[in-house]
Symmetry: C2
Subunit: 219 residues, 2 copies
């Protein structure tokens, strides 16, 4: 089965680069999070609201992953009001970010200026979970409009994340979505998952998330 | 670049099987659609509502693709009230269906009983677009809660589809979503795209979709 061997070699090579990135960033005291979700769950909006709250407190770098367009990096730069170092990666078809892409993007960021690095992955609940990027922490974002069966249907994403954010709480009155069911499903897969419930539209829950992000996560 | 060669070989092998499936189904007069979307855009609900409307008019087979669980196949069987031949494929981690999976699933369906075969792909706006399954037509479902930038950010999915369904119209009052912008983006990528706007919750637009599905699509 040569194709399996090659896939394993590619993943092993990726993990080696990811390990080097993690060491580099840890040596500089930079916390790194890898944010993942379905397309449209609200990753970029979460980052906009997070950056608006934190930009005076600490230096932030953002690596934006998209298949095409630089629209998200432009949104992040606007939210940062000139204070956030932002790099856009366009994968031109690839369904996930890989560690070598992060290594290249880091050459564009002045690491002496930041203590938090945020990587926004491609919108995809499947493939990104297999690829380490050198992050300290993985954050999976789900939203109340995408059905309350996602942890059971995409378990690997929840098994490999440390944080789950349930977004779009403001739309709960208009959809059939049981937040408790989602939390139960996710915790059955990963009992250590830290869960935040937020609305990026109203701001509900965002202060708790930001406070935790600055103060509590593992280094 | 051996890994690229192997990827091409895998895709070419897939296309060969897909071609055989398409011939087999065409010879029996069975129309086949491949339904794709982000996780949670409403594929399964669209199929439930479609089957409820059509189950008296024609024989329907459904192949449900999921990484894990048989929850969707159970929903389809309930919607079909015993009239729909349903097969669940669990990919155990794979991010898309492949033609050899469809070939295996077809062995479980009595093809003499059906004239419409619906394949529900894995929830993923990226990878499924590269894999032919023997379908006559690809249907991409987007929803009003996932942001109105999806065609621009995931162009390959829209370039290779024949139909786009905009779902969750009932939630438009509560979200920032410009349907006309999405349609413009999608048509710029693929001017031949047939577009339906629906709400699977209220039923709006579903009769037009079902009438077209039965009467107008290419054989």
């Amino acid at each position: 089965m040569p194709k399996v061997t090659i896939a394993q070699n590619i993943l092993a090579a990726n993990d080696t680069i990811a390990g080097e990135i993690q060491q580099l960033l840890a040596a500089r005291g930079i916390r790194t999070i890898n944010v993942m979700s379905s397309p449209g769950a609200g990753k970029t909006t979460l980052l906009e609201r997070t950056i608006e709250r934190l930009r005076g407190q600490l230096g932030i770098g953002v690596i934006e992953g998209d298949i095409e367009t630089s629209a998200d990096a432009e949104r992040i730069e606007a939210a940062g009001a000139g204070t956030v170092e932002t790099v856009q990666i366009n994968t031109r078809g690839a369904c996930h970010l890989e560690a070598h892409m992060i290594r290249a993007a880091l050459e564009e960021i002045d690491l002496t200026h930041i203590s938090l690095l945020v990587i926004e992955n491609i919108g995809n609940l499947v493939c990104p979970s297999a690829w380490k990027l050198g992050e300290d922490m993985r954050v999976v974002v789900v939203s109340t409009t995408e059905g309350d069966d996602k942890p059971a249907k995409y378990p690997q994403m929840f098994a490999t994340s440390q944080v789950m954010i349930v977004n779009k709480l403001d739309l709960l009155p208009y959809v059939d979505y049981n937040v408790e069911k989602v939390k139960r499903q996710a915790l059955a897969i990963n009992p250590h998952l830290r869960i935040f419930e937020v609305s990026c539209r109203t701001g509900a829950g965002l202060d708790a998330w930001c406070e935790w992000l600055v103060n509590d996560p593992p280094p």
